[in-house]
Each structure stands twice: as C-alpha cells, then as structure tokens.
Subunit: 321 residues, 2 copies
C-alpha cells in the first residue's frame, strides 16, 4: 500500500504530467476503454458539508478506484483548512486490494486546469493571441497558468464579478511575461480563447460577447442549476465535453438541452477529437465550446501518475496493509 | 491518519464489539440519525469482478465514510487470495479529511454475523432451543458462532445443498458444546431459530418447513434475483430488515413485494424494535423474519470500533497524511 500525502503533491506533480494523464484518460473514455461510475453526492446534514464519491475504471491504464471527499464550507473560517477536501484511493484491478492513497486537493485543481488546457490544445485556433478569463478566484489561477502553455498568447484579459480579485490572474499573466487588461464582458470579444471558471447560477458571458473563431472552456458548472454562459452560445458553437451524460445533466449544456436549443447528439466527447475520430474545430470561424464537468477518471489518472512519480523518487510512504 | 491492516483485525475485533456496533447503528438508522448513501456496484469488465462503494453517515456516532471493494471470483484459484476484498475508509465529518483505513474482509464477515445475532436477540423467543442453519459455507460458520451466544440453544441442525460441507457448521456447534444433526429441509420444522446463508437464486426453505414461533434470519440475498425462502413465508411472518429500501429491491422481500404478497409498509426496521418504537415479536406463535441485506453503515460502525481498539492497544499504524 502506497501513501502520498497532500504535502508531497506540489513537488511531485507537474502541469505537464497532469496534462498527459487527463488527455490520455479522455481518449480512453471516448474509445470505450475507460468509464466513470455513477456519482454519489450527499448533503450529509453536518457542517453544511457535501460529501461523496467519484469512481471509475480505465481498462487501458488499469486504473481503478475513487475520489472521496467534498466541500466543507466552514473549514477555512473555523479551522484554517481549505474547504474542498478530497482523497484518491486506487485499487489493484486484478485483485480488488487497496493499492494507494493520495491527497486529492491540489490534484483536483491540477486536473481541472489540465482539462481546459487539453480542450485548448485540440480545439483552439493555432494562431490564438488573446486569452480571456471569466472568473479570477483561486482555481482561475490554475486554469490560466496551464492554458498559457498551449498557444503563443500575447495578452490576457479578464473579468470578474468582484473586480478586486483580478490581481490574482494579472499576477499569473505577468509571471508568464504577458500584459493583463481588465475588461467588461463585451470586451471578451477580443479574446481568441476564453476560460470561464465561476460558480454562478446565471450566465455572465452572453453569445454576443464572443467572436467567431473563439474557443471557450466552461469549467465552473458541475451542478444542476449552475450556469456560466448564455444557452444561445451553445447553439452557435460546436460543443464538446468530458462526459456527455454529465454535460447535459449537471454541466453547462444542461440549459441549452433543456431549452431545446441543442440535442444530446450535438455534444461530443473531447476524447473523440484526441483520438481523431471527430474532426473537432470546423474552420477558422467556428466557435468551439468545451463543457468541463469533471469526472472521477481524471482524478484517478493524475493520482496514478503521482504514485509513479513518488515511487520513482523514493518518497512514497509504504505501509504493509 | 490511522491504518489498521487486515492481519490485525482477528486479534482486535470481538464478536461482542461487532454486535454492539451493529446494534447501535441499526438503532441510529431507525431514529433517523444515520443513513446509507446510494450503493455503487459495477461489473468492471476485468477479471469478472464486481466492484463498488457502500457509504453512509451516522450523525450520532459521527462516523462518515465508505467500504470500497467487491468480489474478484478468480482470486483464490489464481492468487491464493480470498475472493471478497474490501477496505473501509473513515473520514472526519467535521473537516472532510481522511481519518482511517481499515482492512474490511474479516469485518464484513463479523458485521454480517452480528446482524443476524442482533435480530435473534430482539426477535427470537427467549426459550429458543434448536438452532437451524440453511447453508454451511465459510460465512455460515460466522453466523452460527455469533448466533449461539444469543440464546441457550441445546442443539444445532443444518442443511446444505452440498451436504459434504455440513462438517463446517458441525464443528462450530461442537466447539460450543452442542450436538449437531443433519436434516432435510422439512426437518427445519424443529428449529426455533433459522439462519439462511446461501447465494441461491431459488428458494430452499418453504413456508411449510417453518413452525409457528420460529425466528428466521435471511442473510444471503443481496442482489436482484437472489432468493433463499419461499415468498409465502414472508406473508405469514412479521418481517423486519436493516434497511427497507434495500429489502424490497435487492433483499429477500423483493419477491414477496413483487408478487403482491406483502407491501413495503409490512417491512419494518429492526432498529425500531431495538429503540422500542416497534413491539417486535407478536406473541409466542408469531413467525418473525429478518431480511439482512447488508448496509454500508454496518461496515463503518465495526471499522470505527476497530480503530478505537487499535489505538487503545497501541497497534494502529499512524501515518502523517
């Protein structure tokens, strides 16, 4: 039994390794080699916490297990702990024995950032120059840092409901040597790539804020009722996702499907683009939209990579379990 | 983070501790203090394995977590490992952080045995003398050993589809100083308490094999399609269970409900009897039937007890996770 505590993850895991792991598992999902189990998510009636399990199995990577944990909204204020708490457990698919336990907090941030980056690699125009951010919270910094590695961006623009948080992402832009400009939402029209990473329940980014040829990654909607972009934008766009069933039920596509603007068959797996079985972007003027809902297989993929790295570097804790 | 490996469980956990833990959590379920999460159970398409998660939260005992694992049918033959493999993970309900990991194989056997014993304590006649076993496999020995502690039994009788396995339970009877007698199924009419612990898909024990006043614990049916006793027996009996929703969907009561012989409202929580909010047995001639489907909260309850015992005895492995 191998244990990799949360405190080791930052030194072990790279954005590149997270990117590769997530790209591979999206591909495996589209080829039918990997699938996610039904998600368990419970309001447990204690500390206002949401707790649950996201499991899956990747037959190609032989990765089996789950992420367990959730959201404890009082952690930071009461205990100086982060509110999202999760742990990944990996099992040996040949025997069913527990194989590894890995801290899942930073990994969740990295795998979510990797997902929008994978979508940029496969769907954004090669000549994208302006990177737009809708949202400027803690997770937005992860998304932006990873996104900037995918194209030769020349500028970052950003909008946030609370503008005083924009320095979070300005700092990331500057660290990458890029200028930053705060814009209003119509100003997003100059972006070639937009990442939306908010926890809003009403759309911020409207269809007419987006220019032809833009790629948008909607990364904030993971629950029924949440919404980041106008449903009409999905009607105008070629829509991709990590997992179609989640996209149309708890992801950004839930609204466009419910309003009859698009059908389930209009939502395509990003893995099909990775595998080359879907052409992806349909010309320079196509708007592409990636609905990143977050699946358990992403967590398992990055955790499995961390275990390999920890063993290789000799810092895994081994317990005779 | 506390770790209690499988190899430590046998020396740590007693039948008494398992009994107390299961009795308490059944009571908490009936009073609304504890509930089970939806069960995830997947045929993963590798090694013919069934894998999944049974989670729950006990607000009274502050026990949160899950049992993960399943059934790997080739383990014994291919690898000399037992086919049922499971691990229990406990979380701190105040913070969402992982708290303990406990080997779940022996615990599963003990908590299943405890469940039928709890039902015998609360539902069997006080003057029960003859203990009947339908099934003589490995798990049957756990059920019988625990059951014999609940009444002053004078004899054990047993039937098994493969009679050559009966020495398994004969040995347990003799160790308890009791004679054993192999019987045919009609011979079960002499039993005051019957435990059925098979994995059959057709009934063995029929309604006319059971005498008035008998208590029956059906412990083998945990899947749609499985069946141990004739549905008409449930119509004749006062029916109790660990969890009503499981009882009528994947437990023994699924058949009687599907055939319209009993209604969901005829199935009562054993916890209500423990709490004194249901009277339980209705006189000396009542047939009582406990449908033990197996819930995640049982696993969490016994694992939490093991963690306490391991810490108290100084044999818990502590990892700075």
């Amino acid at each position: 039994m191998i244990i990799v505590p949360e405190r080791e993850i930052a030194d072990l895991m790279t954005r590149e390794a997270a990117f590769d792991a997530v790209e591979q598992v999206f591909a495996a999902m589209a080829s039918g080699d990997a699938y996610n189990f039904p998600v368990v998510r419970e309001a447990i009636g204690h500390e206002d916490a949401l707790y649950g399990f996201k499991g899956g199995f990747d037959r190609a990577g032989l990765t089996l297990g789950l992420k367990a944990g959730g959201y404890w909204p009082n952690n930071l204020e009461k205990r100086d702990l982060i509110n999202h708490q999760s742990t990944v457990f990996l099992f040996d698919p040949d025997t069913g024995k527990a194989k590894a336990m890995v801290g899942g907090n930073l990994l969740t941030a990295l795998r979510t950032a990797a997902a929008s980056s994978v979508s940029i690699k496969h769907l954004a125009r090669d000549d994208a120059k302006v990177m737009g951010m809708v949202g400027a919270g803690h997770q937005a910094t992860f998304q932006l840092r990873a996104a900037l590695e995918q194209r030769k961006f020349e500028k970052v623009i950003g909008w946030n409901y609370h503008p005083e948080m924009l320095p979070n992402i300005e700092k990331v832009a500057n660290e990458a040597g890029l200028p930053f400009e705060a814009v209003d939402l119509p100003g997003m029209a100059q972006a070639d790539v937009i990442i939306s990473i908010t926890s809003a329940f009403a759309p911020s980014l409207m269809a007419d804020h987006v220019s032809p040829g833009t790629h948008i990654a909607c990364m904030g909607t993971d629950t029924k009722g949440k919404q980041e972009v106008e449903a009409a934008l999905l009607q105008r766009a070629s829509v991709f996702t990590d997992e179609v069933a989640q996209s149309i039920s708890i992801g950004e596509a839930q609204h466009a499907v419910a309003e009859g603007l698009i059908a389930e068959t209009d939502v395509h797996q990003i893995g099909a683009v990775i595998n080359g079985t879907h052409p992806g972007r349909n010309g320079a003027d196509d708007i592409t939209l990636f609905d990143g809902t977050g699946v358990g297989l992403q967590d398992l993929a990055v955790a499995a990579r961390v275990v390999e790295l920890a063993v290789a570097k000799g810092i895994a804790i081994e317990v005779d379990f």
